[in-house]
């Protein structure tokens, strides 16, 4: 039934959309009196031109992978989880407690322990809205928004009044013990003889995120649970007929979602800052929405769009470092990328489809014309 070949849909459409976004961004850069060519060059080399750039790009991408996957899995059950931000905050709290109060002998154990705690905290923070939705019909969009604010207040309280070392100005926990520090890609790759920048924050969490993408792909497309989640997402009435419990799926999907969002904390809190600061999530929960939508809720799509956003963040940082381009420009570029690749994709797809319909070979006469072609 597809009008376009698959490669065109998967590669050509996003690529042209991206080019359009880039072209418009260039105009904006021009408008504020800067050189767009140089700016793009700086972004690309800064983000992808060195292992250092990659180290930052992948660090940001790791955050977005977790939150993007979180939004994606909920989307499959037709639940709109706007609460990734709050769940990630709580995940940070989980990581902090695990790292500060348990004497881990080795980082690998600490990673497992912290990931479990992060997931647990995030899951709990998602489970309450899920329960309210499933049992009380409270709209999950409102409750998750509210839970973001409540999480911020809770974290503020905990950091200022409980976890902050006495006399410390910074509303942050103490530094986590040495044993919990995660190895960076530099340390991981060195034994393999691969030179990777020492100072970039990308760490072993990236591998966890990639694994999470894969596990989620298996979960969604290869397991019975994933099958049920998708079925419920497509049609609640049919799910009931098949004996798939809406309450159960709502709870499970949101718990997985919250756990994934919470697990972001092993990257930014445990892997990078090595302590919990007030502002650790920095809107990654919201970026996750864009990442999931752009990735069409497919783990592989989430992977690539997370990298794209990582690139925008790191490229933007480079711009901010070496030029006087204001940081808000980066926000505008992000907006344009989201707009063109995510919302205006049909603007590219429609003419392309017409083009492919024109060039495709006319159907063979013996083929039954009314039977839908594959």
């Amino acid at each position: 039934m597809d009008v376009m070949p698959k490669w065109a849909e998967v590669i050509l459409v996003p690529l042209i959309s991206l080019l359009l976004a880039a072209a418009l961004s260039a105009l904006v850069i021009l408008a504020i009196g800067e050189d767009p060519v140089a700016a793009v060059k700086m972004m690309v080399t800064g983000a992808l031109g060195s292992t250092y750039g990659w180290g930052y790009t992948l660090y940001y991408a790791t955050n977005f992978m977790f939150t993007g996957l979180a939004v994606a899995i909920a989307f499959h059950a037709r639940l709109f989880n706007i609460g990734g931000e709050g769940q990630a905050m709580l995940g940070g709290l989980g990581v902090a407690l695990a790292c500060l109060y348990i004497p881990w002998p080795h980082w690998s154990l600490a990673l497992i322990g912290a990931a479990v705690m992060a997931g647990l905290f995030g899951a709990v923070w998602a489970a309450i809205p899920a329960w309210l939705q499933a049992k009380r019909g409270s709209h999950i969009v409102i409750t998750t928004i509210m839970f973001n604010f409540i999480a911020a207040a809770l974290l503020n309280y905990v950091l200022v009044n409980l976890l902050r070392p006495r006399g410390q100005m910074d509303p942050a926990t103490a530094r986590f013990p040495e044993a919990t520090n995660l190895p960076t890609l530099h340390e991981l790759l060195a034994p393999l003889g691969i030179e990777f920048s020492k100072s970039a924050p990308a760490n072993v969490s990236f591998l966890v995120a990639v694994a999470a993408c894969f596990v989620l792909w298996v979960l969604i497309w290869r397991t019975r649970l994933g099958y049920e989640i998708r079925a419920y997402g497509h049609s609640e009435s049919a799910a009931k007929y098949a004996g798939i419990s809406p309450v159960r799926i709502t709870m499970i999907a949101m718990i997985i979602s919250g756990a994934l969002a919470g697990m972001m904390a092993i990257n930014n809190v445990m892997g990078e800052a090595e302590r919990l600061v007030l502002n650790s999530t920095e809107g990654a929960g919201f970026i996750g929405i864009a990442v999931a939508l752009m990735g069409r809720s497919h783990p592989l799509g989430v992977f690539f769009s997370a990298i794209l956003f990582g690139f925008l963040y790191q490229g933007g940082a480079e711009l901010a470092l070496w030029t006087s381009i204001p940081r808000e420009l980066i926000v505008v570029i992000q907006a344009l990328v989201i707009l063109f690749t995510g919302a205006l994709d049909n603007m590219v797809r429609m003419p392309l489809e017409r083009f492919f319909l024109m060039v495709r070979t006319p159907p063979k006469p013996e083929r039954k014309p009314v039977e839908p072609a594959e």
Binding site: G167, P171, P201, N268, N279, A317, L321, R327
Partner: protein, 308 residues
């Protein structure tokens, strides 16, 4: 070429970061030299900016904000030939100059002025987020108020718990109005962009306000009682002027060395009576010579005169 790194609030926050920027600009204008700068977008960029500037040969590198402390402590040893200056935090490294301000002292002085200017005996404090630094402001302020008028009431509110608390002038306005309806006739704002709303509403409602960090008296001439100045600009200017090889160690900027104080100019000349000014200056002198100790919230995480 020196470099300046602003905290997440951004360089035009009308107070702290902006003061730093002004100091750097003054230096640039006077010397004709240039400097690098970056406004951070994320926590991870703190370390990134430090390292990138250090590797690119910027020296000295000045940063504003306590949030850099922890990271600078890690980064500074990696670049022994680069000099760093951090404002608002103590970092004990051989190549770091730490500049901290006694905001409680400055707040004490403006608190005294508030109490003297107040006719109702009720004054207000509006903070951005409830973090220790802001409590330090609030506590010093309350102490100053009580020093003048032990019976005075100090109403203290915080704006919120998300970063939006620093940029919500609407909420600042509402808090001001709420304090006014509780009788406050002088309000002190330590809330970044939210303070814009506080000062505006105070001016609209005909009460006095007190600005923070930079001299904000000019924002509403004749309506802003004074501003608690925190001379971050001087600190940055000094660091840039001293340049590479500057003196390291702790610099405590208090009333004594005019690091903090209260702003007097033509905009508030009519608001501050000679007597008021004399009283405050006397207190300032006592603080300077050590005979008056203003309680520092950070010293024991508590405030004897204000309950958070």
């Amino acid at each position: 070429e020196p470099a300046l790194i602003f905290d997440l609030g951004g360089k035009f926050d009308k107070s702290f970061n902006e003061a730093a920027f002004n100091g750097a600009k003054r230096w640039a204008d006077e010397t004709g030299n240039t400097f690098r700068e970056i406004e951070l977008q994320s926590e991870a960029q703190r370390e990134q900016a430090l390292r990138r500037f250090a590797e690119a040969g910027s020296n000295p590198i000045v940063m504003t904000g306590f949030a850099f402390g922890d990271i600078l402590n890690q980064v500074a040893p990696d670049y022994p030939d680069t000099d760093f200056a951090i404002i608002d935090m103590v970092v004990d490294q051989p190549n770091v100059r730490s500049v901290v301000f006694n905001e409680h002292e400055g707040s004490y002085l403006v608190g005294m002025m508030a109490a003297e200017a107040s006719k109702t005996g009720t004054v207000g404090f509006i903070g951005g987020m409830d973090i220790p630094l802001i409590r330090k402001f609030a506590c010093g302020f309350a102490e100053g108020v009580k020093a003048v008028n032990p019976d005075a009431t100090v109403i203290a509110n915080m704006t919120g718990t998300t970063p939006a608390a620093w940029n919500d002038p609407v909420k600042g306005s509402e808090l001001t109005k709420a304090q006014i309806s509780q009788g406050a006739d002088v309000v002190y704002a330590a809330a970044g962009g939210t303070g814009v709303g506080v000062l505006q509403t105070a001016a609209d409602e005909g009460i006095l306000s007190i600005g923070v960090d930079s001299n904000q008296n000019h924002l509403h001439p004749g309506k802003v009682l004074t501003s608690m100045t925190k001379r971050v600009d001087n600190a940055v200017y000094q660091a840039f002027t001293d340049g590479a090889g500057m003196e390291k160690g702790f610099n405590v900027m208090g009333v004594a060395n005019e690091g903090v104080g209260f702003a007097m100019d033509e905009n508030n000349a009519d608001l501050v009576s000679a007597e008021m000014k004399a009283n405050v200056e006397a207190a300032a002198a006592k603080i300077a010579d050590g005979s008056l100790m203003v309680h520092d919230y950070m010293s024991d995480d508590s405030c004897p005169v204000l309950d958070f």
